[in-house]
Amino acid sequence: MQAARDFSHYVRNAGSGHSHIDLAVEGVSCAGCMSKIERGLSAIPDVTLARVNLTDRRVALEWRGSALDPARFIDRLAELGYKAYPFEAERAETVEAERSGFLLRCLGVAAFATMNVMMLSVPVWSGNVGDMISEQRDFFHWLSALIALPAAAYAGQPFFRSAYQALRSRNVNMDVPISVGVVLALGMSLVETIHHAEHTYFDAAIMLLTFLLVGRYLDQNMRRRTRAVAGNLAALKAETATRFSDTGEIAEVPVAAIRAGDVVLLRPGERCAIDGAVIEGRSEVDQSLITGETRHVTATYGTAVYAGSLNISGTLRIRVSAASEGTLLAEVTRLLDNALQARSRYVRLADRASRLYAPVVHAAALLTMVGWVLIGVTWHDAIVTAIAVLIITCPCALGLAIPTVQTVASGAMFRAGVLLNSGDAIERLAEIDWIIFDKTGTLTLPQLDVVNSASIPADVLELAGRLALASHHPVAAAVARASQATAPLPGVVEEPGQGVRAMVDGVEVRLGRPSFCGADRLADEILMRDPEASAVAFSRGEACFVFAVRQSLRPDASAMICALQARGIAVEIASGDRELAVRAAAQSLGIGEWRAGVTPADKIARIEELKLQGFTVMMVGDGLNDAPALAAANVSMSPISAAHLSQATADLVFLGSALAPVVAAVDFSRKALQLMRQNLWLAVGYNFLAVPIAMAGFVTPLIAAVAMSGSSVLVMLNALRGRRVAPRRL
């Protein structure tokens, strides 16, 4: 049964009789691809727009009328050699993109105002020592006010809003001293302008906003780019389900279009994309992505199946249930909610710094004012000096200290194959000294592999591989992959529940259960040696061979575990799988601490126990059962192949089949934290120099402008060092 593909869910009406669809495309990397795709798609009649976005690796398509089937674009791209899939922007990504645009608009306004105010300030600075008459100075001050006040009101919004929110929840963040400083500087300058005074600080205030917006924008842009890549990866997984329509016909629809109560078909070898209960059929199901258990579960009428389960042997009909109806899911959701609440208590480094910083600075300003009044100067002069202290300490460098490092570090991690889900993950990751790994799908690869291919003759392996290509069974797929065969054998007959057979040069070849190939004794021998593996047999005439198939460890797992231990991090395995399997993996990786058969609640308990002992714990896991533990740990990481819920919960997601990104993430985050601390100290050091000058009343607008830009540039340059970490032994 070949189901029709139905992508109507993704098609938008673009107005005036045009339809629009966005496709995520894999493998677009250069200008050549770009013009090839655009030309190839434009050649389809009725297509009015085909435009590649090389940054996000997407294609936007528009066409007249509604006659064209979107599947045709995907087929055309496949002919051109690109894998594509309809893409729907997640809410989170849309929000990030909007915010990015808003910050860029603010930055544009602030930069415009800075340049024009500077143009007016420089003549005043030089005029003060020359022959500028006071009417001219006042005129320039009024013009500056006219530009700076509306610009600051607009471009300062990101800071004012965040400061207001923090204050309303009785908190202090970095934006509070920034907002106080900017508002006071502008207010004082306005009053001074009205009173025909010599000094105003419009330039300093608006320049501060510009510098800070640069930092914010870079940070936001990096986050947006990460989200776009994650969105593409999710789209390219192309999760579809085969749904029965009311008339009993089947169509392949995207998961997003499936509703509770729908009935879907799950064929052998397919991964289930929805949660539901079996209503017809009988099969074995691999739930390792859900529970970590590698042994197959028998599914019959009424059995609950979860998204991510792999159907092994029979065809099933499943009724889709609403989310979290299942008992396992409900339990996981409950644990997850509790853990997430605990997580939100973490206070970012920047906010901790500003909690110390804000009171000290504001007290210093107050002290300055009181001091000058006691000495006997007028209230007006005392207040002006106090505000000058606030302006010069306004945390320009401090506000940039952390976002710039974060931007550079997340860029470096991105190139190493690690995507960041949450902004403060870097500083939390830098402090870990204990890692708990899940086994199945995390230390091991998610798919099955043949482990004894070296002991099978090459010609036999090739023949078995060609035979295996005809079967959908996941074990057969492992054999096909191991042999790297590409040409399937002709005339293959499938015996349901047994295996496949074909005739080659007058001799019958079979691949399937050991009993089907008469290789029971050989299979038993292999299973005796490796109890974790499943056996698949191959026979050619009388000769028979047995492949041991199992999830193998990630290729660099053992080296990377050593590397982590060399960095002073303790490594432990906590798996839902049975003891035998976990012990074998722990031994081959040289991990002393391991726990088998643990439930989601056990994993959380273990993490809490370690936290109580004073350890900072990272959880690395992929299963649905790991999701609560991922949230409970100080910081968490998932492979890209993980269950949806786990991937959304984890702070970081790593790509590819190697474990190296985990070590790279640890290295980059440690370097980043070191740089963040250095930057904070640089900012504090600058204040130590600047504050006494301001308190003494020697600060002029020129000094304020130079000091502020000097410290900001210094901090930015220091942050750039986070692009590389010193090479060290793995």
């Binding site: 250069c30 200008a31 770009m34 013009s35 030309r39 590649v52 976005n53 090389l54 940054t55 996000d56 645009g101 860029l104 608009r105 544009g108 306004v109 415009f112 340049m115 024009n116 143009m119 007016l120 001219q136 005129f139 013009l143 530009i147």
Partner: protein, 47 residues
């Protein structure tokens, strides 16, 4: 110094023009694909 009456508004008007140009380019999506735009500039014209 009367020339300031002309020059200062002129300078501000030019700056404002630049800002409006930037906001227009932002709105028309010119910053959506910086990488692609870089390549398009040097790509051959369609035959």
């Amino acid at each position: 110094m009367e020339v300031l009456v002309i020059l200062v508004p002129l300078a501000l008007a030019l700056g404002l023009l630049g800002l409006l140009g930037f906001l227009w380019s932002l709105r028309s999506g010119q910053y959506d694909d910086l990488e692609g735009a870089a390549w398009r500039a040097i790509a051959d014209d369609e035959p």
